[in-house]
């Protein structure tokens, strides 16, 4: 089969590789019908995530048709259309049973590296390095799905692939970010980053009853997309205005009740701390560049919540703990507990409450992935969300 393989920084190739096989009795093989490139794939593309190996198959946003099931998979049949969550979870452990699916104890068979870095390891992830389990990803013609009796969500024929594809990651991720804000009547939610996760966080914040949502970015096309999709949205371009003062002004001097960092570890900014971050990351003194997060912490109102769907991997420098403590902030973060949200959000799509296709900017063939990665990485104004068809 054809698959998108990682070969190093800024080097992905289309390879002919063997087809996947059933390895465990709870596996299924899915024939991919639609897949996508995620912003977090760019962290791999730019070489920020350790323990990648040459030849690893990328991709964690995918859906398709079941073509084979292991002997313990009773809920799926050949021909079923399914969307697969990017986190792999057993459904049996303490964490799965408490809806903390992304903390599954039994899905990452190689947790050693993560334990060295973090103390304890979360669940395995598709196509996201060997410290996350070394699972082959879904930017391919076929994929092996472990714990297929728990993860894949069946899709009714009435819905097209593109309408449900983002249930695999970014829609639940944006939704959990908003849910983590514990939104109450009259709340203002500020969202840093208008990439696809930010877009879904904005929509979800409105869905969950936010009175005002403010989106912050500096890419005009992304801000325009957010404005077009959300009638009552306020936007801030941080190249034009100073974010703290503007947010203070927009909230009657209080600051936003919740701040969502949908940017993550490759934050771009032009202030001195952002530039210093780049220098430090270049000499390996700090691995992540947390400018957006620092600003979110600084801008958040007293007793507010900072919710972080953006991915962080290593160590942060100059983390404003004093501000977080001084204002009594609550922090909520982590990989999305996918299995908890997928059925509910599928229902929202079926009921017409949201049409996730609005984030798609490009539709390409799987074989065009190397070009798509390059464009997505360098021209974010135009290349916002890329969907690939094998």
């Amino acid at each position: 089969m054809k698959a998108v393989c990682w070969y190093g920084k800024h080097d992905v190739r289309i390879m002919d590789v063997p087809d996947p096989e059933i390895l465990n009795p709870r596996d299924a093989i899915i024939k991919i019908t639609t897949t996508a490139i995620c912003g977090s794939d760019l962290h791999l593309y730019n070489g920020y995530i350790p323990t990648m190996e040459e030849g690893d198959i990328l991709g964690h946003e995918f859906m398709g048709e079941v073509v084979e099931v292991g002997k313990d998979v009773k809920n799926l049949q050949k021909g079923d259309r399914v969307v697969v969550p990017f986190t792999i979870a057993c459904g049996n452990c303490f964490f799965c049973q408490r809806d903390l699916w992304s903390a599954c104890d039994n899905s990452n068979p190689t947790p050693g590296t993560v334990e060295t870095l973090y103390g304890y390891a979360g669940s395995g992830l598709f196509g996201y390095s060997h410290m996350m389990g070394g699972f082959a990803g879904g930017q391919a013609e076929y994929v092996r799905v472990p714990f297929a009796d728990v993860g894949p969500l069946k899709i009714p024929d009435s819905l097209a692939d593109e309408q449900v594809l983002f249930l695999s990651d970014i829609f639940p991720t944006g939704y959990m970010a908003a849910e983590n804000c514990d939104i109450r009547a009259g709340d203002t939610v500020a969202v840093w980053g208008c990439g696809p996760v930010g877009q879904f966080a904005i929509k979800s914040a409105f869905m969950l009853g936010a009175e005002k949502v403010i989106a912050i970015d500096h890419i005009p096309a992304r801000l325009k997309e957010a404005e077009r999709e959300n009638e009552n949205l306020t936007t801030i371009n941080f190249d034009d205005v100073e974010v703290y003062s503007k947010l203070k002004d927009l909230t009657g001097g209080r600051g936003p009740d919740s701040c969502i960092d949908a940017v993550g570890l490759e934050s771009h900014g032009t202030s001195p701390d952002a530039i210093l971050d780049r220098v430090k990351a270049a000499v390996y003194l700090a691995t992540d560049r947390p400018h957006a997060l620092r600003q979110a912490i600084f801008c958040c109102r007293k007793g507010g919540t900072v919710s972080i769907p953006g991915v962080y991997g290593g160590f942060l420098d100059k983390f404003p703990m004093g501000a977080a403590f001084g204002k009594g902030l609550t922090f909520k973060m982590g990989q999305t507990n996918m299995h908890k949200y997928m059925p509910k959000l599928l229902a929202a799509i079926e009921e017409g409450k949201i049409d996730p296709t609005f984030v798609i900017s490009h539709r390409l063939k799987l074989s065009e992935a190397p070009m798509a990665y390059d464009k997505f990485n360098t021209d974010k104004d135009v290349w916002r969300k890329i969907v690939l068809k094998p």
């Binding site: 030849g55 313990d72 057993c90 303490f94 068979p109």
Partner: protein, 257 residues
Amino acid sequence: MKNSEKEKSLTDILTNMNTNIGDNERLVSAFGGSLLLAYGLKRSDALGIALAVLGGGLALRGATGHCQVYDAMGVDTRNSEDGNATYSKGGSGKIHVKKSITINKPTSELYSFWRNFENLPQFMNHLESVKNIDDKRSHWVAKAPLGTTVEWDAEITSEHENERIGWKSTEGSEIPNSGVVEFLPTSTRGTELKVTLTYEPPAGYLGSLVAKLFGEEPSQQVEEDLRRFKSLMEAGMIMKVEGQPSGRAPQAKEATA
């Protein structure tokens, strides 16, 4: 701290076998230091030189496992990295490992699986097979380097249903060893399992085989065994990742458009 010790030469440091840094920290130190050294050397300015010196120091610290600063401060991080495990390989060469893990299953289920020692090779990777001889005694075959095996008989020394199993190799075994597993019920989290294993490798060739059997990190091996046991009990299987497709497969080649 004596003055003479502070003034060690480079040769002294390189040959000094007394480490005071834990393995993980050594790895990070050596890796990060090397990167910094390489980056510093690439730039040919004052900052580059400073970074190269700093990087070189870190790399040396990683390579030797000895930190001058820790030495001066009386710090030793070797044993602090191992979480709930204790592991000692004393002067006698005795290997002693203690580990615990929580499994989301009732004690009775875990006890009855473990009590049948023939099940152990399913999750203990270094075991080839265990055959029960009678209700108390069993014959164990462990994998050894170069395709050889090491064998012994063991007998149950203590047994409290759903609470504890103790076993010990029989008199005259080539490799005297013993183990205890305890099953402690919790109110809401399933069962806490506590395992203690002791191996007393004899001097000479056989002893070195046993040492190799457990590699450099016996505590790590036992931890991985217990993780597999947990997965087998909770999820009914042990996750496999070998055998997945990748661009590394021998028949893989770049696709033509």
